[in-house]
Symmetry: C2
Subunit: 420 residues, 2 copies
């Protein structure tokens, strides 16, 4: 895309009403627009990052047999009363609204109840299971305070998968398949090495632990204890001698760290299916309970988390897989030959399937360099009278401070070495 | 996709609480799930149709320089007060909700105000315009009654584009570019021949007419008068001798028809930009007003419209471009050779990029044929012991009643002749 056609701009001004660095940087670089505390609109570059993350998550959910759905934001009261999650005294962060006739409705906080309701209309026989369904959608949480930018929003994008299994044994296998898919997601996002499966409180529906996926980060709000050799961790909330023994973890092997929760997986037993009257008929014609799991990934939280985690003093630093464009092509000067070389390179790279943000504006070199750093594309290429004269391109990785001069062949070779 | 892995099923039962044929058929075929009147969740097949339509619309908006955004559902009151569209007495179909601290919020009805607010933070110079931005998102309308299935929902998916131009002349050119893109969208959706640009009331912001895009259909709720030779129409609402004269239309050339409104384009003049204080600075440093246009396409309405419009007594009949799968592959019997031929064909077609719903279930031929008709994929292929013996495949177009027997080469040739 030509920068001259992108309506957003960067700003040096740090937004005064944001304390979270992710929101500050994303606003300064023109990726998001703040609607109100905890509610952000995605501008074109921000939407590209969000969609890249969504697509990686979608790929991995499809690969394990996930079937994508789109549930509704407006929620009727009755199905939530069956699980006793309607009353504001029971669940205190619902947004509620009303039909013109006065009927109260919920504004999509989570979707266990409507998913069970929808799936139960189709799947009834033992032959229909196991089932994996998922959604990637905006959800709404009436948070009292919202000051962590995209890390904790009132309106945010989640991937939620829900599985239905016939037996505990089947559920275990299904659950571990999803966990493996989660590891692949974080690896592709560039967070593989720093993300740990972490035992956490299982909630009120099961005596078991749930799993969180915690990315080690100085900005983390969670305290976890990491066993590096086993590549496993335990959340501070359940850190006790009794639980360590249960989990076969040794205090001596654990190191305290800060983590950002980038996903979680829960055992729901048959709590929701029982409450909503969903069962399956076994081979003998007998009704049997269904075991559910639910599995979240905070997609918009990941935008903020990755933005903040990889940033440096000059701005954003996107991993290749989520960057809105792979290359920031800065043309310096407006001589005919510089314009021609830059235009040619832009067309060539685009034809090769390399995504390029082409800074074709009439602007000073310093401004283009500062923008390239702030906006954080993985590679910066400079074209100028000097590079035209030398027949090379100036290439810099966002994570490095020095640029190198390369031929066109070397350029492509460098760009095709995608990091993992 | 293998049918045995798809959790949805078909049903012969017409849902008793639906009067609209589109909702009846889409529910019977397992495409959607009714949450409440006017609020539908999209099951995997329905979501594929929705995404196909979205992608066609997105392609054509991008092709004219459209920049995609994602706006928020939660809306703060202040920007809507500036245009006097907050008060329920002024706009009576808002859903409203409240923050935990009691602050009232709107639930995304439309997005002119937040879009102007967001874009105005970036674009201020005459060099920044014209600008085309768009969103494809769920919107919410507190309809008193909702009984037309996906044609008029309380929660629905819209594409909305908004343009900003410096002069009326520039706006005219921009507006016509969007109109041309709309024609390309409807053509690709299989509705080109039956969709007419239709003069309609311009609303309160302009003395000019707006344009609707009306698809001729017996299910249409709008009455329009069509000039077939000019390929233009006029909405019944503004049908008067005075307007006909203004529009250079002759009563004698007009034929009364029923239409479904599948899109609209509006001239907003500088109503919103003025109210929200958005201007641009011209080359002389003077502040000037900005001229807006807004342009809607009802994406989820199109799912319902296409479903109902093309259906026949046996079920849905999807145009190629929007069908969830191009081919319904029905394997009859479970002999080893039939399974092998069907598996091979499924793998082969999939590898060729042809999307296939493979009915690999242990079910009677009659049930598979009935499902193929109800679910409406453009092509049905039958593999059975008979086709194995003859070395051919049985191919039927959903729109035809007779099947033909073809070789593998002929099969591919047939499948590659995509209709327009």
């Amino acid at each position: 895309m030509r920068r001259s056609l992108l309506f957003t701009k960067t700003t040096k001004n740090v937004p005064a009403d944001e304390t979270a660095k992710n929101a500050q940087l994303l606003i300064q670089a023109g990726y998001i627009h703040k609607e109100m505390a905890g509610v952000y609109a995605y501008m074109p570059l921000g939407l590209r990052v969000l969609e890249n993350i969504k697509q990686i998550v979608r790929d991995e959910m499809n690969a394990i047999g996930g079937q994508e759905l789109m549930m509704t934001t407006l929620q009727p009261r009755d199905i939530w009363e069956k699980t006793d999650r309607w009353d504001d005294k029971k669940v205190d962060n619902w947004f509620k609204t009303k039909l013109a006739n006065g009927t109260e409705l919920g504004v999509g906080l989570t979707h266990e109840e409507p998913i069970v309701d929808a799936v139960s209309g189709f799947a009834t026989s033992h032959k229909d299971f196991p089932i994996y369904v998922y959604q990637i959608q905006s959800k709404f949480r009436n948070e009292l305070r919202a000051k962590s930018g995209l890390l904790r929003g009132r309106e945010f994008v989640m991937k939620d998968m829900y599985t239905f299994s016939r037996t505990q044994q089947e559920h275990e296998a299904v659950y571990e398949r999803v966990v493996e898919a989660y590891h692949r997601v974080y690896k592709r996002l560039g967070l593989g090495a720093s993300t740990y499966r972490t035992y956490a409180d299982g909630g009120i529906f099961t005596p078991r632990f749930s799993d969180e996926f915690q990315t080690l980060s100085p900005i983390g709000e969670d305290t976890i204890y990491v066993d590096e050799a086993k590549r496993i961790a335990i959340n501070h909330e359940i850190y006790s001698d009794e639980n360590l023994a249960k989990l076969n973890l040794n205090k001596a092997d654990l190191v305290e760290k800060k983590g950002v929760e980038v996903g979680n997986t829960f055992h729901l037993e048959s709590k929701y299916t029982d409450a909503l009257g969903m069962y399956y008929t076994d081979a003998d014609g007998k009704q049997q309970p269904l075991i559910m799991g639910c599995y979240g990934i905070g997609v918009s939280r990941l935008v903020g988390m990755i933005a903040e985690h990889f940033s440096d003093e000059n701005g954003l630093v996107w991993p290749d897989a989520v960057a809105p464009f792979k290359v920031y092509l800065a043309r310096l000067g407006d001589s005919e030959q510089a314009i021609q070389q830059a235009d040619n390179l832009y067309n060539y790279l685009t034809a090769q399937g390399v995504t390029v943000l082409y800074d074709d504006r009439d602007a000073r070199p310093g401004q283009k360099f500062a923008d390239a750093e702030l906006m954080g594309m993985p590679y910066r290429i400079v074209v100028s009278d000097k590079t035209v004269a030398s027949g090379t391109y100036e290439l810099k990785r966002r994570t490095e401070s020095e640029s190198i001069h390369v031929s066109e062949d070397q350029l492509l070779e460098n760009l095709s070495n995608t990091e993992e």
